[in-house]
Symmetry: C2
Subunit: 251 residues, 2 copies
């Protein structure tokens, strides 16, 4: 039985809690948060670091730049303390405890239900024994647990920024463009869904279509004309050039 | 009963054929293609324009820049001829026939099955009667048929380029970044899926997360450092700036 304490209760830890609170071989012993929140079911909640209970693993889920000072402030040592960040290295954690990382590769929003078993979890630890513990813990909800060192995890997180943060911003730009004609993004939702679905079976290169891929200069020119001078037009030009350069030589 | 002839048999017309060949009030009379293809089931196939049969609607599914000359070459007049392009105006069709547009707002790949009833179809025609005919035709497979004039359709198509072509290119960039560490895009597929799923219920602005959204300058700097000088780094910088500008004032 792995005994757990959550440190911080933002979106990531909220969802880890949800994924783990009734997992077979895991007990959530306590939740710490700076903010005074109502108890979650029967799990004790504290806002006082000095009242932290003993556990096998402490999971820190707070902003990256607060991890170091927070982990320094923990009133115990030689226990396993992990963070959940994609970008921060394991070494940002205080050395006074055993260190590890448990990075769930997913985007979390408050109250959005998720299929936890499909979420890849990247783990890292300072010893084989702690790694085994994290593998048990992550494996309690996820069917895809992979050991990834900090250096590679940082690049994985960067790749995730492209397919999540930047993709979502393209949705936002599209919504803005449609709004000018009083059209709603709902008109593009089947396309958005299919675009993501397609690469579950095709490679992105096989799935690529559109004016830039076809080198359809007339449509590209028309589109540049429709976009007013500004960031969206610059982005359009940059993507078009990137796609042309990627596939141009193969035409 | 609407009688149909498909002119050209690329991805769009192949899927329209699939969506319509056993629809209740539609008969596919003939398929024309430049290329000599085997007959599709019992539907007559021709490579000879002079052998086109009489029908209520002719659907042109060929590259945009070939539509005008192709529609000029049709050996009949005063019939309803439509194209399926998002970018081309209705007026690219020859005036010798009645003109229209039937633009299915989806990305089509050979042999990828689709839920046709969810595909929004944008229609346009020169008369109320032809519009009614196209509404019946599109409504035979789609539950979302909207009348959209050429000018607005061009901007809708542009918005679609952002959420389909550009999004897919971000998937490709991400795959390239992962390949440097011998990692596979499959690790990001749950995230890709969830990113698209999320905006079915949240607005893209509500769904936006990541270092640029949080204005996490340390992570942004780290990411820029990880990306070698080149188009991916330039794209990262541009997106980051765009996201910061979009949300910065609200922080």
């Amino acid at each position: 039985m792995v005994q757990l304490v959550f440190l911080g209760f933002g979106n990531v830890n909220y969802h880890l809690y949800n994924a783990l609170y009734n997992a077979g071989n895991v007990t959530v012993k306590q939740i710490y948060s700076r903010y005074n929140k109502a108890a979650f079911g029967s799990i004790p909640f504290t806002t006082d670091l000095s009242k932290l209970e003993e556990a096998d693993v402490y999971i820190i889920g707070i902003p990256d730049d607060a991890i170091t000072s927070f982990s320094e402030a923990l009133p115990f040592k030689d226990r396993l303390v992990v963070h959940t960040s994609g970008a921060a290295g394991m070494e940002v954690l205080s050395e006074k405890n055993r260190r590890g990382v448990l990075y769930p590769l997913q985007t979390f929003s408050a109250k959005t239900p998720l299929a936890y078993e499909t979420i890849p979890v990247c783990i890292e630890a300072g010893s084989a024994e702690d790694l085994r513990l994290l593998r048990t813990l992550a494996g309690a909800f996820s069917s895809k647990v992979v050991e990834i060192p900090s250096e590679i995890r940082a690049r994985l997180h960067l790749a995730a920024v492209f397919v999540n943060n930047f993709v979502n911003h393209l949705y936002h730009i599209s919504e803005t463009l449609l709004a000018a004609d009083d059209l709603d993004l709902s008109l593009l939702k089947p396309l958005i869904e299919e675009t993501a679905r397609k690469i579950q079976t095709l490679s992105p290169a096989e799935a690529q279509t559109g004016p830039a891929r076809r080198n359809d200069l007339k449509t590209i020119e028309k589109h540049l004309h429709l976009l007013k001078e500004g960031p969206n037009r610059a982005l359009y030009a940059r993507f078009t050039e990137a796609i042309q350069n990627t596939y141009g030589k193969k035409l």
